[in-house]
Amino acid sequence: MAAQPQFDAIVIGSGITGGWAAKELTEKGLKVLMLDRGRMVEHGRDYTGEHMPPWKVPLRGKPLRELYREEYPVQSASYAFGEPNRHFWNNDRDNPYVNDPEVFTWYRANVVGGKSLLWGRQVYRFSDLDFGANKADGSGIDWPIRYDDIAPWYSYVEKFIGVSGQAENLPHLPDSEFLPPMSMNVVEKAVKAKIEQQFPGRKMTIGRAAVLTQAHNGRGACHYCGPCERGCSAGAYFSTQSSTLPAARSTGNLTLKSDCVVEGIDYDPVSQRATGVRVIDANSREKTVYTGRLVFVCASTVGSTQILLNSRSDAFPQGLANSSGVLGRYLMDHTRGSGAMGFMPGFDDRTTYGNRPNGIYIPRFRNLGGQDEDVTFLRGYGYQGQAIRTNGVGMADSIPGFGADYKHALRNPGPWRMILFGFGECLPYRDNRMVLDDRKTDRFGIPLVRFHFEWGENETQMREDIARQATDMLEQSGAVNVISLVTPSKPGEAIHEMGTARMGDDPGESVLNRWNQAHDVPNLFVTDGACMPSTSCVNPSLTFMALTARATDYAVKQLGEGRI
């Protein structure tokens, strides 16, 4: 008879979904092991770049070019990457993948907390327009759930994390459980009024953000310092460290191990269960197997599928829970890179006070009631953006001269600039996929990820419309010198990678069922972005969290009933 498992549940990954799985499972009384391949980051203590003044930043913010070229060629391209938080990011030399970032840009953290420390904090609910999209137009497979299945879990998650935003009562962008909204600035308010007047049916609202506008669940309100991605010791934005990790720790049921690289998941063909997780210590390279009754894979879209693909056995020669053969396929990312910007005259005596970690949002208005007549692409997009008082110093290169007059010119801010950039839904394509390279391995002997990805014609057409409509809206709002932006983003650059282990009702064409439970392995759950059959056009992290909470609830009930 086999020994008792060491843990009731093993959670692989400690980012947005891993933290949620650990919190929920420990609070339900399970003894949980949470693993992360990265280093430990303790809340506050390890936010060494937080509030670092400009004169303390190495090289005053200039990139450490040689180091970045050698060790961070992928990560250093992110807007959020810099010396104040480089210690959160993956080292691309130590942990590489096969492709050039032009093919697919894989942004990764390499610390406990994962990308929850670095994320953009925008949170929006999916609607039935999204959950029904695959069925309606035949791209991909139907979602096994609808909005009513997840709505209570959205509420559950939002009440815990704290979401600031404005209720708008839009059926295609359901409201969250809101804390008070952040405010628009004077120029954004003017643009909002013009857009809503000139374009019936379009709406501009303040961004919905997992940033606290008032103290909430023991965490402090935002103090508007600006660069959230350096970490926030006030806990004003949701991260594992600020929110789910303290909750899980307080139960006394959590064991957290950092520096643990998961090589694969063991499977017992007799019981047809996952039995344990094979781990390599990132420092000593020592190998260990941890056993558990439940396994939650929450290692990020690409990370989770890499682990499953590398968990090969006689029963699953193409990767664990991959009897369908779709594991790794239908990789998606929002398409972005198009939009518009222009200057807004008439507000030069106004500026802003404080650094708002949030922008505005224009919800989807395309193809809401069936196919719009004037476009041929399917689905839609939303815009994020903001008006900013431009920085005179930032335009120093374009101001002529030197000396006292030049210095005085830089003391003043530049004009107001309004920018809108779109996030477009990406269709699921079978050939957009990740595989394991059959020869190249990393320093742990784990096969490297190789991506195959190309935008489709639908995304290309959508990007053109995103630029066209943004330009039109800005011009109608009184902006001048409007520039239309149509550079396509590199795949992965939206950092909304989804798919590769999709949910579905048919085990023949999906990896997970409606509960994020593997069709093939009842005690195995995948609840991060890998599970998504489609992307919507809204930022997906909130949906990952809600699906995770929902899946833990189901898993623990199943466990209690002796079904898994």
């Binding site: 106004r350 650094n355 920085n391």
Partner: protein, 198 residues
């Protein structure tokens, strides 16, 4: 001798001398790290950097570039961060300043009169204004740097960055609020009278 010929001669002379010292400096500076040191300026060069810093951002009702420590920042960047191409453009710019002042009043830049120095830097700005940068690719996130950008752009960029990220630049010349505590999107600019530093 025409000034143009002086310049050409100076550049030719600089070419061989500079390439040797640059090559050696590069050998020594292959590791980029924030503890890097400034090694490439001789005393006249250091004097020129100090003069240029203060000429671009002088002391006014607030301290200038020297008080903000800008020359030390420039020395570090040019010594240890610049690529060979950037360093070559930078040093030939210094040499052109010297050549200009030598031709004007038979003194190198760091010993020349203020009028001569201003004229020399103005001439560099004119040269820079005729420069056609290569096409810049990129999206919202990407900005490529132009290593060939002319001397005037380089020196002014370093003075501006060094000054406006300094404690003096952030807190005295601009307005610094590291933890504002609130957001007001409709704030009267006249209340601060200068832009925020970030």
């Amino acid at each position: 001798m025409q000034r143009r010929d002086v310049l050409r001669l100076s550049l030719a002379l600089l070419g061989s001398a500079a390439s040797f010292s640059l090559a050696r400096a590069l050998q020594a500076d292959t590791v980029v790290n924030p503890g890097m040191v400034a090694t490439v300026f001789d005393p006249p060069g250091q004097a020129a950097i100090e003069l240029l810093s203060e000429m671009i951002i002088p002391e006014t009702d607030t301290p200038g570039a020297i008080a903000a420590g800008v020359p030390d920042f420039i020395a570090v960047i040019v010594s240890s961060w610049y690529t060979p191409t950037e360093r070559k453009v930078f040093f030939s710019g210094l040499q052109q300043l010297d050549a200009y002042c030598l031709q004007q009043e038979n003194q190198p830049f760091h010993l020349a009169s203020e009028a001569s120095r201003v004229a020399a830097l103005t001439e560099q700005e004119r040269i820079a204004s005729e420069y056609q940068p290569p096409m810049q690719g990129g999206s919202f996130y990407r900005q490529s740097s132009d290593e060939e950008a002319p001397f005037f752009k380089k020196i002014r960029e370093l003075v501006v960055l060094g000054y406006y990220t300094s404690e003096v630049g952030c807190t005295e010349e601009l307005a610094y609020r590291p933890a504002p505590g609130e957001y007001n999107g409709d704030y009267e600019f006249a209340k601060i009278g200068r832009q925020w530093s970030h």
